[in-house]
Symmetry: D3
Subunit: 296 residues, 6 copies
């Protein structure tokens, strides 16, 4: 006799059908970092999710940071860490360490996806001239080898995606003269998402989303139109560290990304929950031409 658990399984697969259809061919850029990187099991689940999305017809692109690893190695090397406006002040030694650590993390993620049977290729912003950066001088201050994206050349991404690879990007890039820089991974993710006209950009973060009441994690807003979000910032309802994050999302939406998601990377399979249910598991910032989607 057929087992009940197997019958339940087919039921759930069939329920996935409209979601698979809805997102077939969609490009999704996943920014992966923070806590979700620390826990090996969570890391495994994130890659599983992305490989599954690829197999059911979406076209995922991963952008990742180095999480706590860079700090750990900088400390190991006896370098005193400095930050300015949340950006790591990056001298030559720190840059060298960042390059090495990010390269290694990249290789580990690619290896994990390959072991699951997917085809993945790891690249930095230097490979194929993907990103060109300029020196970032916040408030005119020199904070070393920290760059900001000035140009995206999607040829290498286009070639990898159309040859059925999952590109895995780490945020090192060079300027016009070939000098390498460390770049903020969130910005790389939005720059790439804009350049490839992504349907979705998902940030796996350490928060549950945008809160209506900053003190109440239960007050997560599941969908926000771009202008609503802008209004909430103006009204001071979005504040603190949330402001640059949301502004980054608004930029992406303004530049052609249809939906940007802030997901809780600490929840296992939060990406699948986002794609395969119509109950939001974080906050979606939508272009004003999009339609509300979740049933709250």
């Amino acid at each position: 006799m057929v087992k009940q658990s197997d019958l339940d399984k087919t039921k759930i697969l069939i329920e996935a059908l409209p979601y698979i259809q809805r997102f077939n061919g969609n490009i999704i850029v996943v920014k992966y970092g923070g806590s979700a990187m620390k826990d090996e099991e969570l890391q495994y689940h994130v890659i599983e999710d992305i490989v599954l999305l690829k197999l059911v017809g979406m076209r995922p692109i991963i952008v990742h940071g180095g999480g706590k690893e860079i700090s750990r190695w900088v400390a190991k090397a006896g370098i005193e860490p400095h930050f300015y406006n949340g950006l790591r002040v990056t001298d030559e030694d720190t840059l060298e360490i960042a390059k090495m650590v990010l390269g290694k993390v990249n290789s580990d993620l690619v290896s994990m996806a390959e072991a699951m049977g997917a085809n993945a290729v790891g690249i930095s912003g230097i490979d194929g001239g993907l990103l060109t950066v300029e020196k970032n001088m916040p408030d005119g201050k020199d904070i070393g080898y920290v760059g900001e994206v000035s140009k995206v050349n999607i040829k290498v991404l286009h070639d990898l995606v159309s040859n059925d690879f999952i590109p895995v990007i780490y945020p090192i890039a060079a300027d016009e003269e070939g000098q390498a820089y460390n770049v903020n991974a969130d910005h790389v993710a939005s720059a790439v998402a804009e350049a490839v006209h992504a349907d979705k950009l998902a940030y796996l973060s350490d928060i549950r989303g945008v809160y209506r009441d900053p003190d109440d994690p239960e007050s997560v807003i599941s969908e926000l139109f771009a202008d609503e979000a802008a209004q909430l910032i103006d009204d001071g309802l979005i504040s603190g560290g949330m402001v640059p994050k949301v502004e980054n999302c608004l930029d992406a939406v303004k530049n052609g990304v249809r939906r940007v998601h802030i997901l809780d990377g600490r929840v296992p399979h939060s990406l699948l929950l986002e794609i395969f249910t119509n109950r939001g598991v974080g906050t979606a910032i939508l272009s004003d031409t999009e339609e509300r989607y979740y049933q709250e």
Copy 2:
């Protein structure tokens, strides 16, 4: 908070990952007929299964018969039905009715798949010259317009499949002179599966599979190598109406189809159960170069 049912769902989707990967790009020919056609809900589930297989990367081709519909219309027209060796004796009026009924059933199946968002195109063996038949004269007896497949021209199938359509085939075909014939759908399915080098050929039937003990439905054999199956026939352990069915399967396996499945079409989603679990839900006849797969 994320619902437990949603978490369970992601777990099941992730469990599907290795199966999706295993069968990615595989061509599966599904012969659909019998009881599974009578029940509207079962019919809906069969099409759902096939559409899902398409979306996760398989390339399904459907072959169907007319089930009880042809008999019903033949009766309506006041024609006395005759059978010889299980083949319907087909005079000109019966052929005309068969063409009309099969065409309508075909259109209904295509319509159902289209309504689920898939792209399907219905064809008979005449379209694109898919099948060429010769008059079937069992034991030299003339049973009218009953043909057997003598040639398969896969161009139209190849074009449809590579343009991302699900071909839905009904078993009417013409001979070299253009005279139409009714053809046995089981044979059409195996002829097509052989011609396209299908990875799988699945018969949705009214039995649970091949029984080790003909009187005990619980004795279904989940996997049989081709030569084991031939031995069982020789030993008289497979007997009666089961013999031609299994011989048809053996032919397909001998001509390059890797696995042929006899599935119970009365179980909802039996196709998904077959693909997404490693517990067989019927009998698989395998080429001798294949490996056993199910965990019994």
Copy 3:
């Protein structure tokens, strides 16, 4: 010695050269119905013409109705036929019969073309989601499952034509929910011709064309610019059943079809006469940007 008849033959083939060149690559939609369907020999000649046009480099698409066959089967089934404004009132039983009869006629035409060595594929408006229809409510009256075309998705046509098939279309289509409808074949022909930007749309009809004097069949007008035709309707010179026919042609011309022909389907090879002579054999309605072509 070479026979005189063979020399004459080469002369005629050479005379065809400029016509073949002129129409090379042209898409021609042929609406085939009415009397031309009743006579088996005429039917054979129509398909011969279309196969020849295909072979000399044109890209024909056939749209056909069911002629008198639907009526015959409706009568057989003991259903009382009803018409409203020339449209068949279509209850569920009538729809089922229409689907079956049209499917069979379609299969017969495809079979004929295939027997002549051409590659043809029969489809309805349902296959590949070619047509989406809405319920037709003339004067707000419910006449059953009669639809009118609201959307054309040419993917399936494009794929068939570029793979060198002659598409043969019968006028059954579904609405957004997947409910099937009977559709007027003339409308299907013009909707398809517009969607594929046909160079020519030819109606094989039971009249000799548009008459300057309604009572004098000798007064056929060979070429009419769209605005002349509109004027003739305004002036009452085109009247009766001719009005909707011509208005249908005007719609097609307005939506990008360069020339629409009303040909006498009762004349054998009227399509060839139209293409390979510059003496019109019916009436051509031309876009105002076209040039007169026939030598009267």
Copy 4:
């Protein structure tokens, strides 16, 4: 009313249908020379025939000589013509004249085809390195710049044919060192036909074909299998200037050309007569695997 002459025309076009179908996509190499070149009207008809064959789906390649033009210009230049074994002894001045005259004739033929609306490109054996030749030393005798084909590089032909051009070839080619040579056009035609695996190679000549009785032009043999032809030579029934001609045909047949035709170039439209009737208008030499075709 439709004119009788127009109806007759459609009848003839329809009769052409099976021939068009039979030869669709066939590559035909036409060697054009001799008398057919002298008469301007005949010349026009030959090009018309080839353009028509192209339009109905064949893929023609023309090889031509210079006819009497070279002799005329050689005489004009005051050079005494010399021949050895039917080959023109070619000194440097003669070669220069041959190149110029053949180039001009080539340009004229291309111009004629272009004026009929076809796309033609004229090339010599030098263009795209089509032909490599070696110095021809009949019986060890030096007869100057007369070459024989040692290698065919079909890239340029393939590119032209697949881009829908009619290649028009004149028989000048170079050796490995780049020295130009005059080449026998009959040999160029067979070498090219073999290299492109032509379906047909047609020689437009000044005779009616191979005679059974050398003295009786009425005794033309319409079809000869390769081994029959060889036998006729052995038996001395084919003799004189006919021997090298037929041997050339046999070579082509042995190297993969399916049918080689010796046609009477003095009969207008002899190419069309050959293609569009099943009454041979000359002699066909067939591969032993071919079937007889003509109804005598």
Copy 5:
């Protein structure tokens, strides 16, 4: 030990790197004529240069005239040469000679390139319908078969270039009726360069460039913006035979060619000097949107 001369060689090759990169994929039309044609060694060097440009990634197209050869053959034929406004009055005999001589020169250039291992195809304006001309009537005067370009159909050029051939064009073309004409090669070069949107058009001429002081060959101007050049003509500083030459260049620049070069064809390898150094070796006329490039 490695030889010093070999080390010097690598140094020069490496110095070529930025130039190769700069011009990679660029289309360059080279008008080749005048003195550079008379000297066999110069001729060889010109073809070498063009073959090298092809091999390092540029896409060259050659247009050539007949140099002194036409005059020599016209004289040989006893025809009195006549010129009007620098254009050769061309009667039927002269046209015939021009066609033959240009065809022969063309064949020789192609042969030379082929012997160097490049793939070249020679065509006239007639092949593939490249050029359509109209009769040129300077000041309303009939000067015979002298045409001017009225239409360019680049299909044949596009096909040859994308199949990796070097097209070699000679300036004979036909009008709409198929009548051949002699055309000025300079005009053909600029018409072709405009039609293919060439990056560069280079005239190999018998002068060192445009002089600032007409009497001082040392006063060559290396770069001239289009409006500067126009001004120099207005100011009378460019005068005499230089005026039509420069006006031709200005036309090309106005119609989309980025840089037009007047190079001294008498200097060996002047094309390479132009491409692989940033010291101009003649005069470049630049579009006003270009930037100055040479270091004087």
Copy 6:
């Protein structure tokens, strides 16, 4: 006036023509390591050479090691280095450092090539599943995470090369379970060269080639057929550390690489010297079907 130095330059470029032609489209795998990596200027010249080879039509693939960098970082981390049979004993910490250092070196080489205007993409053996390795147990001894290549999947290389990138490979790869290993770069180079059927494999080493007299660097042998080389090993004339190096070359030649070069990486532009002169600058080991090439 044109400068003499410019004229000399054109002469040298023209001399390069036959070499460019000879190697056009050739795949060359360059193993880059050793001293050539320590000197920044040498490093720059190596990349320049490879970029130039790419631009003139060759298809280079780079494989590199980490040179002294790994040792430096291992020391920095306070790990005692151990070697066995010349292979670095690799514990988990050493592996982590090797991954990081090789990734960084890779990124620096890619960056250098990109800054020169080439398109390069850096990958390890993990990306796209390029290499699968097995644990290397020399003499059955466990030396940690040291792998040897068991499978090469060239898809990612093929995609990069055909999209015009220069692949830059570093020798980290995973086994079937996804465990990473350090791999010998020389072996990676030969495995890759064999898998892509490279025309050339060039090792940039710290020696001048294979010496006929081990003590005399002037006795470099410029060309050695595979069986000669094997004989020299048998005869003890090749000995010591040279043996495994030459055996590696012999393996590559046996597996389809046409020529393997041992070049002196300390000579600037030794790659160009090899390609653009016919005086060998090291030792070439050739397949026995190749022909001697150098003029000694």
